[in-house]
Symmetry: none
Subunit: 246 residues, 2 copies
């Protein structure tokens, strides 16, 4: 059974070596975190090498939730951080682990559901996955030498979660309830993308992929409530209706 206290889910995106998944489980449980989610692990699941490495934290693997894609893994969350070594220019806020876990505590205290995404060992996170994040976590490493592995990145983030054991509730977050879940924002993005495709917005074609990425980034960067999402869907539907009448 997971710990009763609410806490962020740690989402491993396409992890490669089982050993690293096991080491990540240990790193999490060192700091009392036990909600692991795994997206499309390279060597399938369950993974015996992960089990061996996790020794003592094996329960996290037994209870880990498996997903085919990133969208599914964060669908029920209303705020998602992506850990990356080199924050690329996506105009998202970049937090240290400290600031991020403070922020996460405040959101969770206000009833929010948050997740932290960790990319694959070699390549780091893909732009499409980063586009789904609301904010970036970057560990302030030596710029001459940044060599954190997956489990170390999990360790430092988990450490910061526990270090801030006393919640400092940010009232601006608490005041506005009913944040849209990630899956709702995802659907909103898909709805706009579909209609704008029909409308010929993504033009010229060689720029289309980048325009779509920018638009996805825009939605995920916005602090959208459920009501906002409904209104934005409604706006789009009405524009289409208008066109059909016109």
């Amino acid at each position: 059974m997971p710990s009763p206290d609410p806490q962020p889910a740690f989402v491993l995106i396409r992890p490669q070596m089982g050993e690293n998944i096991g080491a990540a489980a240990r790193a999490m449980w060192n700091f009392g975190l036990d909600r692991m989610r795994i997206v499309d692990p390279r060597d399938g699941w369950p993974n015996q090498k992960a089990v061996v490495m996790a020794s003592g934290a094996g329960r996290l693997l037994d209870e880990a939730q498996l997903f085919d894609d990133t969208a599914g893994a964060i669908g029920d969350c209303d705020f998602v951080y992506a850990t990356t070594a080199r924050p690329r220019d996506l105009t998202k806020p970049v937090f240290t682990p400290e600031a991020a876990m403070k922020d996460a505590r405040a959101r969770i205290a206000a009833g929010g559901k948050v997740a932290v995404m960790f990319g694959p060992e070699r390549s780091g996170m893909e732009n499409d996955d980063i586009a789904r994040a609301n904010a970036i976590i970057s560990v302030p490493v030596n710029p001459e030498f940044a060599s954190l592995n997956l489990a170390q990145c999990v360790l430092l983030t988990g450490y910061e979660w526990r270090r801030e054991a006393v919640p400092a509730v940010d009232m601006t977050v608490a005041a506005v309830a009913a944040w849209a879940e990630q899956i709702e924002v995802e659907k909103l993005g898909a709805h706009f993308e579909e209609r704008l495709d029909e409308a010929g917005f993504f033009f010229p074609e060689h720029k289309a992929a980048n325009m779509k990425l920018n638009l996805r980034n825009l939605w995920s960067r916005m602090p959208l409530t459920r009501a906002d999402v409904q209104m934005l869907h409604g706006i789009l539907r009405q524009m289409v209706r208008w066109k059909d009448q016109g």
Copy 2:
């Protein structure tokens, strides 16, 4: 050559596996620490396995100072911390890594010379070595599961050393992102209001004023960049063009 900035020496006491010494070197250099001292390594020195594992941080091993015993390794220091999982000697202050590195910074700023000792992998530090320490560092791990290895312990301590020197939230976001000015957001709101009025979105009429207010609130609550505003104008214009063609 070691970094010019004064910093604590990290002292590995009787480390066993070369891989762990190499991993400790990497963990240190991730946070800009490069003063390694090694006491009586089990497998002698130099150690090829350490070199392989340290890749990229090998300089720390080349420059590491080797000692026969703990007393020699910390002889020139005026304050020494011992890291241990379970603080035994209760007559010494027990610091979290955070508090210890704050303390170390203050001592070093005042001209002091400090060291942090890390025990062997299996057994942890011997009482004789702990007795030489002025204070204990204990990482606040999950009491049900404390399984930090040598490199992880080095990593968390190094992280705390550096954390104190780096701002928690990176303001480069604000710098790279040209945030939209109020007047631009105002115009965006007006553009949407006008077109949506034409499209018959604000319906039924007795709810129109409130719907407009909600929409204005949405735009002003969003952290919009100039590029976002341009994209949202563009979306709206394209929808109208689509309608006109339809």
